[in-house]
């Protein structure tokens, strides 16, 4: 079990963090269920297990800050303030979805909430995040960007090109690598020349730090530290959150590349359980409060799923709409 340092945390904040993590977990579990019932089609890369990363990171930034997300982006979208019904409807490709049913799981985005989008291309958002950072710098704004990506993405060329640009120009971007040990079936050990992913930032003149991605407060503190630096013009940083995805890479994944023991050892450190327990130990939340929260979230998710299922499909005339902006 993770050893938490004592952190001063308000009831409200504890509730918020725990609730968001629960929302994400239940969101993903609901999708598993919808897939099993053949209601959700297509690919969905589930974030279950990694909730502390998105929730901790987002708790460290402002509403008007930007994020970019990944193919495993449901958690980021929820933590960045996305509406559960709209997100769920998007997963089902419905008209009421946050992208009108045109994006789907791989392209969840809501620019109005600062979420510049999930991406079907591994590493595909890292340049976009860098450009958002450049835009902030050019506009003289004091926003920042959190750029999420996986361990696998650190092997893409675009990752390196972008970090070099951000490092050189001191752009306000915090790069967050969610290291869940695998890129699909290929482990970090088999894909990367080094296992210590903080080394990936060595050529880019930015601080790099590892943190426990199963500990929402550890993530929050680490991100907060570098977000503050970025915000005051000190440039980017690279954070590696060690975490784990509970489900397979995608629905059809038999997970032959990892062991049941490994899976169990990570589930034993589950971020929601651990944080709930800790908040109770620290008497920030009561057992009942935690249980009530869970129920509250269950009700929210039921409503979201219901909304999504009942929502209509996009109308045929949507097919050609929004390919271009028309004056």
């Amino acid at each position: 079990m993770t050893i938490y340092t004592m952190t001063i945390i308000t009831k409200n904040e504890a509730r918020h963090l725990l609730k968001q993590m629960m929302q994400i977990r239940q969101f993903e579990d609901a999708i598993m269920d919808l897939m099993a019932r053949n209601i959700a089609e297509g690919g969905s890369h589930l974030y279950a297990g990694e909730e502390a990363c998105a929730v901790g990171a987002m708790a460290a930034i402002r509403k008007d800050d930007y994020i970019t997300s990944t193919h495993r982006g449901h958690g980021h979208a929820i933590a960045k303030g996305g509406s559960l019904p709209e997100l769920m409807a998007e997963i089902l490709g419905k008209e009421t979805g946050v992208c009108k049913g045109k994006g789907g799981s791989l392209h969840l985005a809501d620019v109005s909430k600062g979420n510049l989008g999930a991406n079907g291309i591994v590493g595909g958002s890292i340049g976009i995040a860098t450009g958002a950072g450049l835009s902030i710098q050019l506009r003289g704004a004091d926003q920042i960007v959190l750029c999420f990506f996986g361990d696998g993405a650190t092997n893409t060329g675009l990752f390196h090109e972008s970090l070099n640009m951000a490092g050189k120009w001191k752009l306000p971007v915090v790069f967050i690598c969610e290291n869940n040990l695998y890129g699909m079936s290929v482990s970090v050990e088999r894909a990367c020349a080094v296992n210590d992913l903080t080394k990936k930032a060595a050529p880019y003149n930015m601080p790099a730090e590892c943190c426990d991605g199963m500990d929402v407060l550890a993530v929050k503190d680490t991100v907060a530290k570098y977000a503050a630096l970025a915000r005051k013009g000190d440039g980017p940083a690279f954070i590696v959150c060690n975490t784990y995805r509970y489900y397979g890479h995608s629905r059809s994944d038999p997970r032959i590349y990892r062991t049941k023991e490994e899976e169990k050892s990570w589930r034993d450190r589950d971020c929601i359980m651990a944080f709930g327990r800790k908040m109770q130990e620290q008497t920030v939340l009561t057992e009942k409060e935690v249980a009530d929260l869970e129920k509250e979230v269950t009700a929210e998710l039921e409503a979201a799923v219901d909304f999504a299922i009942k929502s209509p499909d996009p109308k045929p005339e949507e097919l050609y709409r929004d390919v271009y902006f028309e004056m």
Binding site: E41, G43, G120, I121, R190
Partner: protein, 324 residues
Amino acid sequence: MREITYRQALNEALSEEMERDQSVFLMGEDVAVYGGAYGVTLNLMQKFGEKRVRDTAISEAAIIGAGLGAAITGMRPVVEIMYIDFMGICLEQIGNQVAKIRYMFGGKTRVPLVIRTEGGAGRTLGAHHSQSLESWFIHVPGLKVIMPATPADAKGLLKSSIREDNPILFIEHKMLYNVKGPVPEGEYLLPIGKADVKRPGKDATVIAYSRMLYSTLEAAKRLAEDGIEVEVIDPRTLLPLDMETIAESVRKTHRAIIVEEDTKTGGTGAEIGMQIMENCFDELDAPVLRIAGADIPMPKSAVLEKLAIPDADRIYREIKSLVM
């Protein structure tokens, strides 16, 4: 004849060629331990070892570059790019290096490199996992581009590709992997650059490849019930294109239709149609018809996705109104 799936046919082709020739090896993302995102390379690592079946990092440009480097120094690599949608990452390496190196070097090298990938829509995966980008590649002289539709064609053409001393882009279709069909046992090779008449007919020539072949054959069956006999030709190789077989058919039927899944504008149908005009203008009773994908990024919605690409129904209707 025994029936096996398109996936098995491809797997057999790889396995047989690896057995036959030690210089053949496989490399790509998740091709070894996982057996390929769509299972085409299942069990090959177990059979041939980790040296010859290699998982790579997510580094498409390096996969192609390294494949090329190995190909010009004595090996016969078969590399995989998981989705054709990712080709924009490595198109520089394919277009500038792989396809041009022989010519640029004055003919002093050969490039026995096969690049396998898959494309197409049908799984509601959205805009980054549903594209048909073959037309980018038919615009790359030096490359050959193959898109088999049937298990037998898949096997025969993949085996020939691996033995070929020119670089090949071999494009599979994600919706065909489970399709079964007859495939001869043992050694089975097909010539690259040769079209195949999949259904004979006299009233119109329909050119269809990859997944669209199936929708077209279904439409052809329904048209036959209406008394319209269309000849269905699968070019199988898109570059170089077997215009002889196509033109011969068009000269007989006087009508040509191209069915393609890719977005229409700038698509492969434009080139095929243009070549038909160039070769058979005086024989044409009607303009060549393109039945193609909508000019849009592929939407996630299953309903919209279905509308975005041709299906048997639409093919049937459009051909019928052309021929009648």
